[in-house]
Symmetry: C2
Subunit: 376 residues, 2 copies
């Protein structure tokens, strides 16, 4: 933290991760690593024709943030620290920056971008707000602020890379247009092979048909179970671990995972910045890219990760491959902390990583005036 930031060193930062399973909030301090506390709101933020519902997000975020701030303030008092922030000019409980990562930000984030910065300034006195696509918070959680690439795999699959000048994205197009190699893709390929065995078609796997029957019941009844559901990608992805479990003994299942590994590696190769001498962290890995794997997909372990390492070694020789420990919530907190410290090096982008211009240029004296009215 060599850059001078406007936030007091004892001030707080908030990281937020809004996804299909709800809203997670982490509170930290500008100059301390890691979160002080985190909380979860189980209700996913609503989306409507106007995009992600900014009012619904705030209705959950603000009470959660106030509760986290109260807990932190109590803890600081107990440690006799409550005057420390004041000594540096920041009032106790000041939130210097908030970073919110949301699924669907790229296509659905218009209302968030219009309404949230002003509303947060009004409600919490926050001076700096960043709105990020969930792939960007995944990147920040997995890679930090270095150049590199992240592959975020779960039900879907997206790869995101940056040379710190611009973002490169590959796939993440959903289960009908891509997400190649992700959980739904693997599960679907496994069920396809099972149905082939059921029919006596070439490419069938008796082992996967056994697993299909164990999980879903009679094969011919699976269409009637699957198609009426609104969470079809999740149902498909639920079969992916069965494919992994069969891969040791079943060549069809192993072939599916090798193909998935190929698709994931292709996406990573498309976005990983070229080895460019002084790019990246000098002295680490000879300046070649870092590829971080993150998300539930890679909890499948070696049946997928072993062929993936091979495919990545082929397509990106010399790249360092890591299985990330930091999740998107960690990434959101990192972005908030960098923003508070005036040290955010990840590229700005209207939908990938949005920071209102007045914050960047220091014209944040009275952000409330510039805010759109909150609807809601």
């Amino acid at each position: 933290m060599t850059h001078a930031g406007p936030a007091g060193p004892g001030a707080y930062v908030l990281g937020v991760d809004s996804g299909g399973s709800g809203l997670r909030v982490a509170l930290g301090r500008v100059e301390e690593p890691g979160p002080l506390a985190t909380t979860v709101c189980a209700e996913p933020v609503r989306t409507g024709p106007g995009g992600i519902d900014a009012g619904h997000l705030l209705d959950q975020l603000l009470p959660a943030a106030r509760e986290l701030l109260d807990r932190a303030s109590d803890a600081a008092s107990a440690e006799g620290r409550s005057d420390a922030p004041r000594a540096h000019g920041a009032p106790a409980g000041e939130v210097a920056a908030v970073a919110i990562g949301a699924a669907g930000m790229a296509t659905l984030g218009e209302r968030l971008r219009a309404e949230l910065p002003g509303a947060l300034a009004e409600a919490l006195g926050v001076r700096r707000v960043a709105l990020a696509a969930d792939a960007v918070t995944a990147y920040a959680g997995a890679v930090g602020q270095r150049p590199g690439a992240v592959v975020a795999g779960g039900t879907g699959m997206i790869a995101l890379g940056t040379d710190l000048k611009e973002w490169h994205r590959a796939d993440g197009w959903g289960h009908l247009l891509g997400d190649s190699g992700g959980g739904a893709w693997i599960g679907r390929a496994g069920l396809d092979a099972a149905m082939r065995a059921h029919d006596g078609r070439r490419g069938g796997s008796a082992a996967l048909l056994d697993r299909l029957r164990a999980v879903f019941g009679p094969a011919e009844e699976l269409p009637g179970l699957l198609y009426p559901r609104s969470d079809r990608p999740a149902v498909l992805a639920s079969f992916a671990p069965e494919v992994a479990a069969c891969a040791g003994a079943d060549p069809i299942a192993a072939g599916i995972l090798r193909q998935a590994a190929g698709h994931v590696a292709e996406a990573a190769a498309a976005v990983c910045p070229a080895p460019a001498g002084s790019d990246g962290e000098p002295g680490e890995g000879g300046g070649t890219g870092e590829v971080a794997l993150t998300g539930g997909l890679f909890r499948m372990g070696e049946p997928l990760v072993a062929p993936l390492r091979e495919e990545l070694a082929r397509l990106l020789p010399g790249a360092r491959v890591t299985v990330a420990t930091g999740d998107p919530l960690t990434g959101a907190l990192r972005i908030a902390r960098a923003l508070a410290a005036g040290d955010l090096r990840l590229p700005r982008h209207p939908t990938m990583l949005f920071v209102p211009l007045e914050q960047e240029t220091g014209q944040h004296a009275d952000p409330v005036v510039r805010a759109s009215p909150r609807s809601g």
Copy 2:
């Protein structure tokens, strides 16, 4: 027609095809080939939790049938034929048999099987009713009553074969579990290749990306167009002709169609009866199977059909491959005609081709008594 049937030779038969685009009805005579007249009810028959709505089907079928019978009766009077049926003991306007082919019959036809035979006996005096899966009427329309196989391709893809002892089915499991090589499959593969080109991933086709943009607009907005729709398979299939149009000059598009052809051939090979000496029509093709291609998929023409003939020649050497002229409505009329003449040789099956037992054993004196009450 060497079998003696109970129907007067001048009696009528009805064929019905119930699908996603509505209900089609054809009227014919037992001993004359072809339909006398056909009509279309544009409203698709409703399905609910109880299956295909038998009442809704009858509400459309009965007026359509009566209108067709009136038209035929008027035409026969004008030709001075109106006494001909009576001379053979069948009253004018007698409907000897009805065959109804319906999409979803296998999984959703319970109410049809329970309610329709009795209701048709009551309303039209019909003595023989057959209820068939749409794949069976497609078979009857394309192959007739000979052993062989049909591939019915449209948005989906299903193969059905018989040795006249039992039915063999392959695929037709819908766009997430199979339908491999069908219209939605081809369109999806084409869009996947287009998105790969957009991302700079391996396997991309710039030609298909151009077509995607021409048809749907900016590539990154396609997910937002596709996923909210309820007719996603049809949207995917709408891109299949674009893949065919690119196949002449674009190796990726050509590869997709060759892969589709392979999947279709695999399904046909799984169901085509083995060459078995005296099976089939003696003297035709040396006793090997007949594979008929039917449905809108094959209107794509040579870009798909040429590689398909090659794949079929490899997997089913000696099989006769035909592009069928008879559609499922023709097939339904053929089944009704054979049923009326006591000459239905296609295998019975509870969900594939259902003929109530009392009709088979001649105990149809009072079918009304055995009918379930018709519910609205």
